[in-house]
Amino acid sequence: MDGERSMTKSELIELIAAKQSHLPAKDVELAVKQVLEIMSDALAQGQRIEIRGFGSFSLHFRPPRQGRNPKTGETVALAGKYVPHFKPGKDLRERVNEPDDDLTPSASSRASASTSASTVD
């Protein structure tokens, strides 16, 4: 299924550092952490984030509701709250949907195997 492979923050820092060899790795690490801090801060203040070609982050409001304590069964009033929401941009949506031709040879061999088997029945 999807999501077996993943990239973490430290791997992201390494990838960027490899392409910005004039900057010390430590500076890249600080900068990446700071970018995430700037973005979190904006959302925490109710500000939208719009990154062209990537997507936008905004807050969605969840209205107050009656919840229940699962242990005691007691009802509790839950206040309304905001949750972060991401909407992928057009470029990201398209790129995620293109078949990967470069990195996954297994995907293309699977595809050709299924076309050759498609005449059964």
């Binding site: 299924m1 999807d2 999501g3 492979r5 993943s6 990239m7 973490t8 923050k9 992201l12 990838l15 960027i16 910005q20 900057l23 500076d27 890249v28 900068a31 990446v32 700071q34 970018v35 995430l36 700037i38 973005m39 979190s40 904006a42 959302l43 925490a44 203040q45 109710g46 500000q47 984030i49 719009e50 990154i51 062209r52 070609g53 990537f54 997507g55 936008s56 982050f57 807050l59 409001f61 206040a79 309304g80 709250k81 905001y82 949750v83 972060p84 929401h85 991401f86 992928p88 470029d91 990201l92 949506r93 790129r95 995620v96 949907n97 293109e98 990967d100 470069d102 990195l103 996954t104």
Partner: protein, 99 residues
């Protein structure tokens, strides 16, 4: 107004002392690497901020809302964002400051 790449770069320049060109390149590269990872089918996990996950959707029936004509929506892969605990807690606190 919304936070954009230009403003993130400006903040890096102010806060970290990167020069403007370095700051701009870094911000561009940051989002480009995220996009490339996702385009290659990799989930992205940024602790404290959140995870960008990929979900495969099967083909399903759709309809042109204008003409009412039925057209299938093809199978596709989509990106979803799951905010991390820390970001959720910070954003939730914003509700308290409204009204």
């Amino acid at each position: 107004m919304a936070l954009t790449k230009a403003e993130i770069a400006e903040a890096l320049f102010d806060q970290l002392g990167l020069n403007k060109r370095e700051a701009r390149e870094l911000v561009d590269l940051f989002f480009e690497e995220l996009r490339m990872a996702l385009a290659h089918g990799e989930q992205v996990k940024l602790s404290g901020f959140g995870n960008f996950d990929l979900r495969s959707k099967n083909q399903r029936p759709g309809r042109n809302p204008k003409t009412g004509e039925e057209i299938p929506i093809s199978a596709r892969r989509v990106v979803t964002f799951r905010p991390g605990q820390k970001l959720k807690a910070r954003v939730e606190a914003y509700a308290g400051t409204q009204q």
